[in-house]
């Protein structure tokens, strides 16, 4: 008993080593936060304050940059496009990926390992190898600059991720549950929808968030496959910057607006995000 107690008190003592660790971690945390905080700081300054040198540390925040950005008609459309593409591709990749990952996690059949490896390897493929042929094909089919093309490509990017991360959640469910449901007279479909699926609801949320963020942050496919009608927010902002190099205030505001979903998900679902962003390697 005394050994355990000692170990515990030792752990909580503020030894110099522990203080150094905290100092180091705090510095690293500031380093991680600084660029985003600086963007926020720039977005709240007036046009003159943004260009002040030395930088003004104390100022009265203004929201004029935000209202400028949000009142540009096109901008709102870009955000709506991003929302539409993100939502559709998330739903599609969940619809395709969750059932597939259940089979890969819970059923034994020949060739399963090959499919597993194949799924993971699609995650490794350079997006540009997929983009070039699809760009040409969409051109021939006159599908460039449509939601369909963009949703399909964003699903392509997130599907492997959804299958892979979801598999971890299915593997956490004990096999006995499915067997018990089958013995009780459930069909396979019934066992999946009534018994297994409710158990992995958190997992589905986690991969859903991951798929949405993947689509929301995606740049390359959107840049090439959308020109005017379905332009997403990242591409819209990118075009904006090439025209107005020095409009740092509105630019920062646009950057902050696009970060809103990211910040919301980080504050609400950090555990799910950690698991998703590390491809299921980090479980909590």
């Amino acid at each position: 008993m005394t050994d355990a107690m000692q170990a515990k008190t030792k752990k909580y003592k503020w030894r110099p080593k522990v203080i150094i660790r905290y100092v180091f971690l705090t510095i690293f945390a500031i380093w991680c936060l600084f660029p985003i905080l600086w963007l926020l700081n720039m977005s709240l300054k007036t046009k003159l304050e943004v260009l002040a040198m030395p930088p003004k540390w104390l100022f009265i925040p203004t929201f004029e940059n935000y209202s400028e950005v949000l009142h540009m008609g096109d901008f709102r459309r870009y955000f709506i496009n991003s929302l539409v593409v993100g939502t559709c591709s998330t739903l599609l990749s969940l619809l395709l990926g969750v059932p597939a990952s259940y089979i890969l996690a819970k059923f034994r059949f020949s060739g399963r390992k090959h499919i597993d490896f194949w799924v993971l390897s699609t995650r490794m493929v350079p997006p540009i190898t997929i983009l070039i042929p699809y760009f040409l094909m969409f051109r021939i089919l006159r599908l460039n600059d449509t939601y369909f093309a963009l949703v399909l490509m964003h699903t392509a990017v997130s599907l492997a991720l959804v299958i892979w991360v979801m598999k971890g959640f299915f593997l956490d469910v004990p096999d006995e549950l499915q067997e018990a449901a089958l013995v009780d007279g459930c069909t396979y479909w019934g066992a999946f929808t009534k018994v297994i699926f409710p158990m992995v609801a958190t997992g589905v949320t986690a991969v859903g968030i991951l798929a949405f963020l993947t689509s929301w942050n995606e740049f390359l496919f959107s840049l090439v496959l959308s020109s005017t009608r379905v332009k997403t927010a990242p591409v819209g902002i990118y075009n904006f910057v090439s025209f107005q190099e020095v409009a740092w205030g509105p630019l920062s505001a646009a950057g902050m607006v696009i970060l809103i979903p990211v910040l919301v998900f980080i504050s609400l679902a950090q555990k799910e995000l950690i698991r998703g962003l590390t491809f299921g390697a980090v479980k909590e």
Binding site: P35, P54, I266
Partner: protein, 303 residues
């Protein structure tokens, strides 16, 4: 009794196919089809403006790339420098942060939440933030340098520094990924060998190199594979911050392929470049993953 069993096996098969089939078809469409089409494009000469003008040239593009295209070799070299430097710094820094994080008892969750921000944030927003900070006259980084009595630096407009500046952004963005992976590895280590080593009087450094590192090799390898491959194909931050410039100073293979296809509209040549990128990725994956798989199997046998 036989009939229901067979019925069961039958319904099981139907169930498996309906659940797995659609995803497999889509994945097939998204991998095999573009691969075959890319290979076809890469052995034909045609320009975006007129896709019907395809003319068969066999391995012509590949021969041109390997023998007559110094830009390809320069881009490849840059890509290797970028990936190798960024990932090794991320691994070292990540190890430091992860072991500090493992050694504290309170605030782990708090720090981990903060570390999520760089890797989850939209790359476009990141690229803007850094571009503003890197500005030579009005940027905050040069202001800090001035306080420290150092000369202003042309971060992304100086050809000799631009690549390093982009690597720094990559390190900022992805060190947290290494931290999370390595922390998971550290926390899953068995306690017994470490206690034994302490009893035997091993130093902290000895414990780290002889016990921690070998035990963590599988997760380190997996983290390295993901990071190396992703660093190899970074596009958004580079494209938005420098567009491959100044000159060609930050033109990685991915950016070069993109520009070839979508700016110079040499789509067949770009397809050949993309196929080469794919082959490089496959080779790197095979080398690193085979090693980790061998290790996992060996580990399972000795256990």
């Amino acid at each position: 009794m036989k009939v229901p069993v067979r019925g069961m096996a039958q319904s099981k098969r139907v169930f498996m196919i309906t659940m797995l089939g659609p995803a497999i078809i889509v994945l097939f469409m998204l991998t095999i089809f573009p691969f075959v089409y890319s290979v076809y494009m890469s052995i034909n000469k045609f320009y975006m403006a007129n896709p019907n003008s395809a003319r068969f040239i066999g391995l012509g593009h590949y021969i041109e790339i390997f023998l007559g295209d110094p830009v390809f070799w320069a881009s490849l070299k840059r890509t290797i420098i970028y990936a190798a430097t960024a990932v090794s710094c991320e691994l070292l820094l990540g190890m430091l942060v992860a072991s500090s994080l493992e050694g504290i008892s309170r605030g782990k969750g708090f720090f981990r939440t903060i570390f999520l921000l760089p890797m989850a944030a939209t790359p476009i927003a990141i690229a803007f933030a850094w571009r503003i900070m890197y500005n030579p006259t009005l940027g905050i980084i040069n202001y800090f340098l001035k306080i420290l009595n150092m000369d202003a630096v042309e971060w992304i407009s100086d050809p000799s520094l631009a690549l390093i500046s982009l690597i720094l952004v990559d390190i900022w963005q992805w060190t947290p990924f290494m931290v999370l992976m390595l922390l998971a590895g550290l926390m899953s280590l068995p306690e017994a060998p470490f206690e034994a080593a302490k009893v035997d009087g091993a130093s902290g450094w000895q414990i780290f190199t002889r016990l921690t590192l070998p035990l963590m090799e599988p997760i380190i390898l997996i983290a390295l594979v993901f990071r190396l491959i992703d660093a190899f194909k970074v596009f958004d931050t580079i494209f938005v911050m420098t567009g491959g410039g100044p000159g060609e100073a930050t033109q990685t293979l991915n950016v070069y392929t993109f520009l070839t296809g979508f700016s110079y509209l040499r789509i067949g040549y770009a397809a050949a470049l993309a196929i080469i990128m794919l082959i490089i990725v496959i080779v790197v994956c095979q080398l690193l993953l085979r090693r980790s798989r061998l290790m996992v199997e060996e580990g399972a046998e000795t256990r």
